[in-house]
Structure formats: C-alpha cells, structure tokens
C-alpha cells in the first residue's frame, strides 16, 4: 500500500468514514476529527511508519509538521520517512 493510501486508511478509521470519503484537500475539522482524535491519528501514523512526528497538541501551528489537510500530512510523512530512514 502506498504512503498515501495508508495515511488515508488511518484517517478514515479515526473519522469512522470510508476511505473513499477522505480526499486530499480534506481537513481534520471537515472529517470531524477533534484534537484528541488528531493526537490518536498521529500516534497511529508513528506506529505504522515507525517515525517520530514532531507534533505538539498545545500549539499545532508551531509544530514542524503541517496537519492542515490530508495532502499536507502525507507530504510531511514522506519528508520524515526520508529524514528518519
């Protein structure tokens, strides 16, 4: 499974949606994922890809990881995988 498909599967499970309902420009809010759900998604992503995501739930904007849309999350993961491999 590609990184994109894996991330979409994780986010869809968290949002209790079908993966086909998760698009690249979906935002966590548009998918109904609250702050706790976001932290849980980050944890699932870290477990799935064996990476460490620099995400601070106190101030998501200050983190060096853009969680604004599904596509920005995927791009961030690909960068981290390259850096942490």
């Amino acid at each position: 499974m590609s990184t994109k498909d894996q991330v979409i599967a994780i986010i869809a499970e968290q949002a209790v949606l079908d993966p086909s309902d998760v698009t690249m420009d979906s935002t966590p809010e548009s998918l109904g994922i609250d702050s706790l759900g976001l932290v849980e998604s980050i944890f699932a992503i870290e477990e799935a890809f064996d990476i460490s995501v620099p995400f601070n739930a106190n101030d998501p904007q200050a983190s060096d990881f853009d969680i604004s849309t599904v596509s920005s999350i995927i791009a961030g993961i690909e960068r981290l995988r390259a850096e942490q491999s």
Partner: protein
C-alpha cells in the same frame, strides 16, 4: 438535614453481572473465587482470585470508548447504568446541575499502568498510546459516569485503599443530607487482577493460596477480587415526590483514623468508627441486627474486628449477625464496600443474611455469630457496613430499613 435513601443499585463482580444475580449467589453461598486467568500467571505465587468472567467489554463499548476505558471504568459504567436505570432518574436542568458522582478506587487503571510499563520496559517500545493518562487516572471512572449521565454537580474520586468505597459513599451521603445535592451517584470499583497488581499484593505475604475463610481458625489470608458497585443516593423527599422505589435509608456514617500503623489494624480505631456511625445515625446499638464485616480473612483483621464489635456492642454482640461476603467475591480493595453494601440491602429488604462461606473451625478470638456457610432468614431493621483500610483509615456506614 435531609433524610437520604438509596433508589438504585448496580454491580458487576465475580458473583454476578448485576444485582439480582449477585444477591442470588450470596443467598446460595456461591464461591466466585477460582483460578486466575491472566498473562504470566505461572510466574505468580498467588494464582486465585475473584475474577469477573464473561464480561465482554467489546460488545458494550465502541472502539473510541474502549481506547479510553480501563477495566475499572468499564465495570463502573456497567454498574452505574444498572443503578440509574433502576432509579428511573434522568438528569437534566437543575437536577443535572446539582447532582454529581463520588466514587472510590484504590488503584484506578492498574492494568493500563501494567500494560504500558510492559510495553516500554519489557518490549522496549518508545511510544505509548496518547490516552494512557486519561485511561489510568483514578478519577477516570467518575468522569465517564458524569459524562454518560449528564451529572454536572460535584464529582470526584476518593482513594483510601480498602475503605475507598465506604469513604466515597459516606461523602456522597453527607452531601445529600446537607442539601448540597439532591442526588449523588456513589460507590466504587477496582480491577487489579493483572500480573503487576497481583504481584504487588504477593509481596505483603498476606494472601491465601487456596481460599478466603474469614473468622475461621484455619484462615490463611485474603483473596483479591474485582468489580464495581454503584448506588443512587437520593434526598428522601425528592424520591417520595416522584414515587421512586426505595431500597433502604442511609442513616449515618463515621470515619476514624488509627494514627498508629501503616498496615496493622487497631481495635480502637475500628470501634470508634462503628460507635460513631451509630451516634451519627441516632441508632441504639441494640437495634443493629447485621454487620457486613470488613472480614478480610487475615489473622490480624478478623480478630481485631471481632474485638472491636464486642467493645462497641457489649452483650448485644452475641445477638447480632456478622458475616464477610469477601469469602464469596474476594476483596475488591477500593470497590469492596460498595459490593458489600448489597449484602446489607439484602438483609434489610429481603430478610436474608449473606453467609461467611469457607468457615471450617471456630476461632475463640472470633466468637461471634458469623453466619457460617449458609444464608439465614432474619428480620433486620438496621445494618452496618465496615471498611478498615491500610493506614488505619476506617469508614462505617449505617443503613436502616424503610
């Protein structure tokens, strides 16, 4: 001061998954203690306990809830639902704003600590699930009861080891009696039957390897149990006005501290708690027909407790009945007083006294009517429930038939 009554009861423990099942088992003298089924049980020297079996949390709670509910919270929510359903109450408006939750637990999410320590120490993982803290915190169960039932008044958790539930129920009673809340949900829960939880208790060398035999001369220690008991404590006038079914009245309580030893019980501290509860409830000692003993099955507790009863009741000590239902459901630690309150309710409502099972040999130091091995029918109008915790923290609740 308001009168306070119990209008709902719920439980889950080794004897049953609800109140009718538990009371039926107590009447029959069923032993819920058996071989422990848990990971690495072969590395434990104590391999028995009063485990809750056949409780499928997966079917009751959804995936998100499961990630937040430790087993002690799962038990609490099941018991709270039974209690609140029985009461017929639903919480909204002013009632919701004033009603709250006070629960007891000694360890909180012990198996969550255990699982995650295992993960980082034994399995070498460097990451744990984000909800470990909200899942293991001692007040998690009270939080989820408050959220599930829309209880917006005073809510908190009391932790006094083996007396946690009695301290919690005494506190809830005081709040309703004082008019601070019309209804309080109270009781307690515990779930320590995991490898680390049992291992810790092993260290004290007070656990029995074969059975819990309170007051019996050949008793050889306590046996751990698990589960929850939850009650609806309600202002009497509030309950009457809505035509609620009343299980019994909570008449009074007392708390005392031995201020002496971290593990050894004190006759004086126990006696002061029982005498204090009678004074608080304005009950003459001759009215007491039944005491649900703390009765752990250890050498120290049982003889100290019997001596305290003799001190408080004088000649009447030989007329009243005292039993320990821990012989059947095990010691639920912080949840134990809540499950044991059910035996008091059964005595007051149904006229059935739960037995002390496993009783084999009389002990001259426990020479009271301990209702050995078989339940007994008797009319009782006042019952006491004892809890004496490590650290000498004692809490006794007095109940009266309505």
């Amino acid at each position: 001061m308001n009168r306070v009554v119990i209008t709902g009861a719920g439980t889950i423990n080794a004897l049953g998954h609800d109140v009718p099942g538990t009371l039926a088992a107590m009447r029959e003298g069923v032993c819920g203690i058996g071989a422990l089924e848990l990971r690495d049980v072969d590395r434990l020297s104590i391999q028995i306990g009063g485990q809750v079996r056949g409780f499928e949390a997966e079917g009751r709670y959804n995936r998100q809830q499961m990630s937040l509910y430790d087993r002690f919270t799962q038990f609490t929510l099941a018991a709270a639902k039974e209690a609140i359903d029985q009461s017929g109450l639903s919480f909204s408006g002013e009632l919701a704003a004033k009603s709250g939750v006070v629960l007891g637990t000694a360890g909180g999410g012990v198996s969550t600590w255990d699982d995650n320590y295992r993960s980082v120490y034994e399995d070498g993982k460097n990451r744990v699930h984000p909800f470990v803290v909200p899942k293991l915190m001692n007040n998690a169960a009270a939080c989820h009861v408050s959220m599930e039932h829309n209880l917006k008044g005073p809510s908190f958790t009391v932790s006094t080891a083996c007396a946690s539930s009695n301290h919690a129920m005494a506190q809830a009673f005081a709040m309703v009696r004082a008019g601070m809340a019309p209804v309080m949900i109270t009781g307690g829960s515990e779930s320590m039957l995991c490898f680390g939880g049992v291992k810790a208790w092993e260290g004290l060398r007070v656990m029995s390897r074969d059975a819990c035999r309170p007051f019996s001369a050949n008793r050889n220690g306590m046996v751990q149990g698990e589960g929850a008991g939850v009650f609806v404590f309600e202002d009497y006038d509030h309950a009457r006005a809505r035509g609620a079914q009343i299980l019994c009245e909570v008449a009074g309580f007392a708390m005392s501290s031995d201020a002496s030893d971290i593990v050894m019980p004190s006759k004086n501290g126990a006696a002061r708690a029982m005498a204090g509860a009678l004074a608080d409830a304005r009950i003459d000692r001759s009215e007491v027909g039944y005491i649900n003993a703390h009765g752990t099955g250890t050498a120290a507790n049982d003889k100290t407790e019997c001596a305290a009863v003799a001190d408080v009741f004088g000649p009447h000590a030989d007329k009243l009945m005292i039993s320990s239902t821990k012989s059947m459901h095990g010691h639920l630690i912080g949840g134990t007083g809540a499950v044991e309150l059910l035996a008091c309710i059964m005595a007051l409502r149904d006229g059935v006294i739960a037995p002390t099972i496993g009783y084999e040999e009389p002990d001259p130091e426990c020479a009271l009517d301990v209702v050995p091995n078989e339940a007994r029918e008797a009319a009782v109008t006042v019952a006491l429930s004892n809890a004496f915790a490590f650290g000498g923290m004692n809490a006794v609740v007095a109940l009266r038939a309505v």
